[in-house]
Structures are given as C-alpha cells and as structure tokens.
C-alpha cells in the first residue's frame, strides 16, 4: 500500500489554518507562547519575597566516605549567615532521612556516610546567594575515604564494599530482583529455535538536563501555620501529600505551587533533599527561603535515567519468524533507589520489551544494585523505562537481520502484530489497545524513499563511502494508570478535573497535571472547545497550584492527555449534560428533543430554535427559574480512572553518513511517522516529536553521565555532558497515521515521549548499518567519533 491509496484517516485536522483558531481540535498557535517569547514567563527563580533568604548546599567531593566530623564554626561566624545545618542537626528532628518514591530511603543530609559524589552534607542559609555560597567554603568536613563501587558489574562481588549499611542487616549491594514473562516456556522455545542471537547491549546513564535546574522557595508563615512552596515540580499534588506525610504538617496547611517550568523530562518528578532543606530552613527561621541548584548540582545529583546493562537474546526460525525474546538486565540504581514509577513496577514498564511483535514467549529477569552514584533510575522522557525496552528489542531485531542476512524492514514486517489481533495481549501481560502497525511502517518507508536509499547505499559502499539506514518500530505504553494496578506511594494514578463556565460563557478549566512546556494551556483548552464549542481563547487553563486545582498525579510518562485529557473531555460532557437540561427549559421542549451541534442546542427538526452554550451559561447564572431540581451555575468536577494504558506507536527511519577517516557521524535525514490516536493540535504534536527526536539523537551520539574509577562524576557541566544543538540534527520529516484508542473518551493516546523512545534505536541501527562493511553487528551508545572509530577497528567497547 502506498501513501495515496490508504484509507482516509479519521479526525484528520491537518488542514485547519493556523490563524483561524479552531473551535476544537486542530492546528493552532500556543496560547502560552506570547509570554515565553517576550521573556515574561514566571519561573521559581523569579519569585522574590520580602525578607527572603538564600540556601546553598555543601556537597560531598567524594563518592564514598565515612563522615568523621563536620565543623561549621567558621561558617556560622560569617556576618551574613543565618543558619548552618548539618545531618546531625536534622537527625535530632528525625528529618535526616526521607522516603524515596520507590519505598527506599534517601539521606536529606548525610549523617553517617556519603554515598555518591555530590551528595548533600550540610546547608547554609544566608542573606544573599553569594554569601550562602561563600560560607560553604568555611565548613570543614573530615572524611574517611572508603573504596567506592563504580563498576555496576562488580557491585555484587563478595568483596565489594557495602554501600547501604544504613539498612538493617544489609550485607551486600543488592537492591531488588524482578522478573516477568514465562521462563520455562521461553527456554523451551529457545531450545527448539533454528537461530538464536545474543547481544550485550548497554543503555548508558543519561540525564534529562532541563534548561531550568531544580529549586524552590519555601515560605512558612508562623501565624497561619501555612507553608507555601513554589517549586519545580511535575507533580505538585503528589509532592504535597508526601510533604504532609513526612513533615507532619497538616495537608490543608501546605500549598504547593509550580509556576512556569523550564523543562522537566522526569527530572522534576522526585522530591530532592534541597526542597526538604528549604522547607526545614523556613520552618526553623520563619522566613521565606530560596534554593536554586546550579548546573553542576543538577547534573551530578538529581534524577538520572537508564543505566541498564542488558544481555538480550532473540530466537527465530531460519526464515525469519521471531519466536521469543529473553533478557537479563543489570540495573544501576545509584546510592538510593529513587526510581519514580508506579510502585508495583520497580522496573517501570520495561515489561513491554517484546516490542511491536507477535511472539510465542518472552522472559526477563533483572537484578538491581546499589552503586556509589547519584540516585534515580527513571526520568528523561522514557515512559517508565520503555526507552530501554524499545532500544533492546529494536537492536535485537537488527542483530537478527544481520545474522539472517535479510533486510531489517522485511524482518519487522513479517513479525509485526497485525491489526486484527488488537486488543493484543503480549507474552508479558500488557494489553495493547489498538494499532495498525504496517500502515505506519509503509508511510515511513514511503516518505523516506527506502528502496532508493538502499540503492544509493549500495553505490556508495562500492566507492568506500559509509552510509547507513536505520529503521525502528516502537510501541509506547502511556497514561498511567488504572488504579487497580498503579499507584505511587499509595496514591492512585487518577486525575481530577474541574470546569466552570462563567455567566458570559467564558470558562476556566482546572487540571491536576502540570505543564513543563508541553502546551497544556492550549491543548486542554482545545479539548474543552471541541466538546462545548467555546473558542479556546475563551478558556483559561489553570494548573500547578494545589490550592486551585483538583487532586491528580501530575505530568510524566506522557500521561497528561491520556489521563487528564480524558478528564477534561468528560468534565466538559458533564457540563454539556447540564446545559442540555437548561436548554430544554429555555426552548420549552424535552431534553430528548434537543440536538447538539458544536456550541449550541437546537430543537430537532427546527434549527431556527436554538440556544448557544453562552446563552445557556447566562441563564444558568441569571434570574428566572431553572428546570425542576436543577441548581444554578454551570460547572462540574470529575476524577478519571483510565481502564487501560494507551499504546501510541510509530515507525522511524534514520539516514546517516559516517566519515571513513574521522568516524564522525552525520545524521542526514530522519523520518518519523507517529500514531498517537486522535490528534488534538498537530502543531504541538510535531513540536513534541521534534524535541524528542533531538533528545534521541543526543543519547545515541553524545550524551552520557560518566564516572572515573574513583566515582567522580565527569559530566558535571554542559561542556562535558553534551546535548545536541541545531547543527547536529537534520530537518525533521514527520508523518502520521491515526488509530484512535478505543477506551479513551476522545481516542487520544499521548505523544510526549514517543520520539525519545523510538529515535535512539533508529540512529544506532543506522550507524551500525553504515559500519556493516567492518563486520559490526552492534556498538553501544553514545556513538561519539572515538567510539565509532573503535568499532571500525573491530573493538566496539561498552561505554561502562
């Protein structure tokens, strides 16, 4: 099938003109952009309060050491210093340790030992941020250096130093074991398979590196007993509840406000020691306290991502039917298990490692360990580890194609789940809601001109030039999640939404999710607009303030549109139901005799008799009687519990050129076809895809948080931790298909992380394909020139 004879896609609103603001779904400029473009965004560091003090954190210079003594005398004597607090001080208040989002504990300030370079040891509160920083130099800490555990493969060695001796009875660095799938059935399939390919695949530690680092302003008012926390949080409500549970402050006396956020990517899901320190400081001193970490602190101490050392195996018949996948993963969780994932999923959603293929069996076992590195384990646009899962399966499929000497596209096509198999239950128990995979693959190949590219490659190879074509197909699992399965620290992953229509027909929608640049103020207004016929410009979207919005779990894992978006649609429908009753009174007909056309109710068969939603809003608030039993006002509230995750998917094609002399990789083209179900605002979707693709190129080619053998983090600046610029990325060629989600009220599936999930394997597959003349089947990320050159010399070394 080609692009032209494909059946028309439903709800395709690509044609909507950018300037004619659609009343509903369609292409439309973002409502929030005028303020960002004019430099009028309002971030945490823009908050200035009278009498505000500044907090700076002293961090460990070493990866592993016992704290012998901390002398704060000189720092206390600094004329501008108000307080110097150590771990011992916090321990007296029972606040030296805090829970992580994975039921582990993490030191707020180290008391006994430091367990990673950059760990929080003490803090200073001073009149300005300069004095606070200067006073850090005056604190004298005596460390008794211990050998660090840096190499994840050595973490469980019998002689490895024990990092977590704070945990009762802990005698090794084991963090957790986890498995999924049917081991016996998988082993049986591998036994009888014609072909088995095994590859060691490392997904290195990377960092979200948001433009805005993490920070907060804590303001505790002694008289009212109220704590207000302006903070860089992707999940304000969840944070408030955790603060209440940990600090003992009553929850209604805590207000968490996330103002504009300069990028999150998962980095702003966890609760960091710095937030707790600022709260403690404000409670103790009774003044507002600001803490903003600097770039180095962000890179060396906050939530990283990935860090999986995977052995992947794939079994197939000789003619290319994939039978089973088996993998063992060694997971580096750093010094504290700070993974932010639904609690029953310690490996996030890595269980979708069967990818987009119809298999007979699958099995994964995982061992997670502690090392002397920063805590975390999730974050960075990965939909809870789907990035790792998709990378593994898409690399394995390419390795299999290499061994079978078949075209990787043909191999994928042969094994993709077919449309009639949906809903499809994978061998690890995930129920994919809908998909037409081959249609997306065809479109991507078509846009790329795949056959021509292969011809060009052949010609170039004959001339000694290195050109590579990489294909990846992915299925995402987003929209966590159904409360029967998913919670974070006991909080169900449901989202509330409140919609109020003002008398003049303007509206305010309050949502629990939290934009970090995704364009929620526009997308959510469009969802309501589509349901009620009120122009998006007339709909204010409020998010990020726990005193103003209903409870919900926040924005990460691409969950906003699948969960909060559904809530916004359903709350609009609830308002519409009430509007219909009011309209029946206004038009003096029964409810059943009314017909809804976007924005108005009309009498069936007599369109001249109609009332608009604005008329109805005025009537709801106006004088005169309403139909019997109806209260005034036009507003509603709901809490949405999704019945399943949604499963966006896509097909990506990447073309690279590798300089044979210098081994530099140039990404020449990138074609991305995404299917995220119903497309609310295609422009915003494209923006999300563009950003994710750049992320993916970065991870594939240059990003890595690395450590030396002493555990020093050697990626503590943006000169060391490289993120791609406009010069490293090509012009993105995007396309789409639309396969709505059957269970989502508007059929939308979420798009935030699709491109980050799908692009790294496409880029790596392309580079490895370019290196085919060298007999290379696999090379690990990041594919820097040096690492590509190593591969060309026949020694592709793992990065860790």
């Amino acid at each position: 099938m080609t692009a032209t004879d494909r059946p028309p896609v439903p709800e395709d609103l690509e044609h909507v003109d950018n300037d004619q603001h659609p009343v509903g779904h369609g292409r439309m400029l973002r409502k929030e952009d005028p303020r960002f473009i004019r430099g009028m965004g309002h971030y945490v560091d823009d908050i200035q309060l009278p009498g505000m003090l500044h907090l700076a954190i002293l961090r460990s210079p070493v990866a592993h050491a016992r704290i012998v003594s901390v002398d704060t005398t000189a720092a206390q004597a600094h004329p501008k210093v108000k307080a110097v607090i150590t771990g011992a001080d916090l321990a007296e208040k029972g606040l030296a340790w805090m829970p992580t989002l994975s039921n582990d504990v993490q030191a707020v300030l180290a008391t006994d030992k430091v367990r990673f370079q950059g760990q929080e040891v003490a803090f200073v509160v001073a009149e300005d941020r300069y004095a606070a920083r200067d006073a850090l130099e005056l604190i004298d800490v005596d460390y008794d250096i211990l050998p660090p555990v840096v190499d994840v493969r050595r973490a469980l060695a019998p002689d490895a130093p024990v990092i977590r001796d704070d945990l009762e009875g802990k005698a090794d660095n084991h963090c957790f074991d986890w498995e999924t799938g049917d081991r016996a059935a998988t082993d049986a399939v591998f036994e009888k398979a014609d072909v088995v390919v095994t590859e060691d695949i490392v997904y290195p530690r990377v960092h979200p590196a948001p433009m805005e680092t993490c920070g907060c302003v804590a303001d505790y008012e002694r008289v009212s007993g109220k704590l207000t926390l302006w903070t860089t949080s992707q999940a304000p409500h969840a944070h408030r509840t955790v603060y209440a549970l940990v600090s003992g402050l009553p929850e209604h006396k805590i207000r968490v406000i996330s103002p504009d956020i300069g990028g999150g990517f998962g980095n702003k899901v966890p609760i960091y020691p710095g937030y707790v320190c600022a709260i403690v400081a404000s409670l103790v001193i009774g003044k507002p306290v600001k803490w903003m970490e600097d770039r180095t602190e962000n890179l060396v101490s906050t939530g990283f991502a990935r860090d999986y050392v995977m052995r992947g195996e794939i079994a197939a018949t000789r003619d290319g039917k994939i039978l089973a996948v088996r993998t063992h993963v060694l997971a580096d969780h750093g010094a504290f298990n700070g993974t932010a994932a639904p609690i029953k999923y310690p490996a996030g959603f890595f269980g979708v490692f069967t990818g987009s293929y119809d298999l007979e069996a699958a099995y994964c076992s995982m061992t997670a360990v502690y090392t002397n590195k920063a805590p975390g384990g999730v974050a960075y646009a990965c939909s809870f580890r789907i990035t790792e899962a998709v990378y593994l399966i898409e690399r394995l499929v390419d390795c299999l194609a290499y061994d079978l000497q078949v075209d990787p596209v043909d191999l994928r096509r042969r094994n993709l789940i077919r449309p009639e198999q949906f809903p499809y239950t994978t061998r690890t128990g995930w129920v994919y809601d809908s998909g037409e995979y081959e249609r997306a693959l065809d479109l991507a190949l078509d846009l790329a001109g795949y056959d021509d590219l292969r011809r060009e490659q052949e010609e170039k190879r004959a001339r000694g030039e290195l050109m590579g074509i990489g294909v990846a197909f992915f299925t995402e699992a987003v929209g966590a999640g159904p409360r029967k399965d998913m919670d974070i620290l006991g909080l169900g992953m449901n989202d509330g939404s409140e919609l109020r229509i003002h008398p003049t027909g303007k509206a305010v929608l309050r949502v629990s999710c939290m934009s970090q640049g995704q364009g929620h103020e526009t997308t959510f207004a469009q969802i309501v607009a589509e349901e009620l016929g009120i122009p998006p410009a007339d709909i204010e979207v409020v998010n990020g303030d726990t005193d103003q919005t209903p409870f919900g779990l926040g924005t990460y894992g691409s969950r906003s549109t699948p969960v909060s978006g559904a809530a916004a649609a359903l709350v609009s429908r609830k308002v519409r139901d009430k509007a219909q009753i009011i309209a029946s009174g206004m038009l003096e007909v029964s409810v059943a005799d009314l017909e809804w056309t976007k924005g108005a109710f009309a009498v069936k068969g007599d369109p001249t008799r109609s009332v608009t939603i604005q008329d109805i809003a005025m009537r709801a608030h106006g004088a005169g009687d309403l139909p019997d039993g109806l209260e005034g006002a036009l507003e509603a509230q709901i809490c949405y519990n999704p019945s399943n995750l949604t499963y966006p998917f896509g097909a990506y094609v990447c073309v690279v050129d590798v300089d044979p002399g210098t081994a530099e990789v140039k990404v020449r083209r990138f074609v991305a076809v995404d299917d995220c179900g119903t497309r609310i605002n295609p422009m915003i979707i494209e923006g999300q895809v563009h950003g994710g693709l750049a992320d993916g190129v970065g991870m594939a080619l240059m990003e890595m948080i690395s450590f030396d053998e002493d555990g020093n983090c050697i990626a503590g600046s943006l000169m060391d931790y490289l993120i791609p610029t406009a010069l490293e990325v090509p012009h993105w060629e995007t396309g789409h298909t639309v396969t709505p989600s059957p269970h989502h009220p508007i059929g939308a599936k979420g798009i935030g992380e699709s491109a980050t999930v799908g692009s790294p394997p496409a880029v790596v597959n392309a580079v490895v394909d370019a290196l085919k003349p060298f007999g290379i089947r696999h090379a690990d990320m990041p594919l820097t020139p040096s690492r590509v050159w190593d591969a060309m010399q026949g020694r592709p070394t793992p990065p860790i």
Binding site: R129, Y130, R133, D134, E137, M292, D294, R295, T296, G661, T662, A663, E664, M702, S706, I714, A715, S717, M719, D720, L722, P724, T725, L727, E728, T784, P785, S786, W789, D790, Q793
Partner: protein, 299 residues
Amino acid sequence: MQVPAPFDYERASTVEEAIGLLERLGSEARLVAGGHSLIPMMKLRLVNLEYVIDINDLHDELGYVRVGTDEVRIGAMTRHRELLESPELGALFPIFADAEKVIADPVVRNRGTIGGSLCQADPSEDLTAVCTTLDASCVIRGSGGERVVSMADFHRGPYETAVEHGEILTEIRIPVRPNGSSAYAKVERRAGDWAVTSAGAAVWMDGGAITDARVGLAAVGPNTTGIPTISEALRGQAPSDELFARAGALAAESCSPVTDNRGTADYKRHLADELTRRTLRLAVERIEAGIAGDQRGGS
C-alpha cells in the same frame, strides 16, 4: 547559578594603565579580556582572585588586523568574530576562517579574543595551533618595555606562557611569505565543543615543489609546538598522497595524547595523522587553485 568568590574589579583604559594596575595589585590580580575562559573558571571556583582587571576598553587600541608587506599584525584584543570576518586574513591565511568557524559558538566568538586564547594556553585551544602553524610571534609588553617571542617560546606548556606577571600580550605577528596557503581541520563531538583533535597546515610552493610546510596540532598533548620533522620531510618534495601520508604518520608519532571523555589516545593519534593529511592536501589544493593564500611574488 554558579557564583564566583568575592573579588574586586578594576578597569584599564590604556595598556600602560593595565600594566600599572598589574604591578600595583600584585599576583592576585588577573586581566580579563573576553572572559570566556577566566569567568567560567572563577564561577566554578577553580580560580579565586582578589582583583580582575578588565581590559575590554583596550579594544580600540588592541583590536585590529593590519596587513603589511611582509607581516600581518593582529592586536591581542581582536575578537574571534573579527578574525572570522576579516577579508584580509581570509585571503592571506584561510586557516583562520577554517578554525574560527569551529571555535566555540557565536556567543563566545563575539567576546573571546586572540590574546585571551593564546594566554589561556589550554592544550586544546585552537588559535595556538593556528599561530604555531603560521610561525607567528608574540609581542609582550611590561613596564620595562617590549619583547617579541616565537610561538615555541611563548607557549611553555599547558596553561603556561612567557607572559610574566606585570606583562600583557599586545600583538601577534605573522610573517607573510609568497605563494603559500593554509588550512585547518577539527574533529569535535558536537558543535561548540573543544577539539578531540585538530590540525593546521601551512604550505609554500615553488612550481611543482613544496618549498616549506608547517603543521600544528591541538588537543594531543601538553604542547602544540610545530613538528619540525614534518617540515623537513616535505621540503623540496612534490605533493602527493604518499607524501601527505608520511607527514600524517610523523604527526601521529610526534604527539602524546591521553584518553579522556573526548576519545581514546589511539583515536586521537589516528586523527593527528588523518587531519594532518587532510589539511596539507587542502592547503596545496588552495595554492593550485590560486583562490586563497598570498600569491604576491608567486609564479
């Protein structure tokens, strides 16, 4: 936000005043030109100073590219961007534009200076390699007067130069010789990154033979001094791929790279070879095409 330790700030409006301030304020005072090396180090508290002497007002006095008959003089305060955009420099020494296009990014290039670059003496710094390739000399002024040193004497090692305390680099002088051209190549992990390795080459020819050639490398060891063995191997020879390969092999032999985040020592050594060959070839092509380099007096 990264904040430096407390320091005092002075501003000099003439070279004499700068020298006077350096002498008066002592060894805890440092000049700041573009600030793109010094200020990041201060913010990271790798360098803590008592005084910073701002010499940006000297741009009028020391910001220039002057072409003479046998020499080009570049003022120490000339900014990267001015070097990149100078048509005279581009015509005489294409190596400058080659290099400047890949030094840092436009924001840094708008402020960073050639003087600051040379005085910073970072082993990965590109303009030192360029100046070495072109056999430049440096003019250093102190209260006792002025002296001129060769690049080999100027660049003493990583972060160490012949500029003593109380002195200021005022000018870089580059000899202009007939019928030559030059080129620069750099491998970086990403635009704006420091070099994994870079190489510069300058070639002079007479008829079909190379009369002289120089190669300078960056990021492959503590020193970026020229490699005399290459010059010897090329002099009097007709250019050919074999000849360039020999030069490349010499470059790889003469450098001493270390493995770091940017790449392995082996890879950098390979690049020293590869980029030496590429830049020599390009410099010769430029001479043959007559499109760049100084053609005065040439055939």
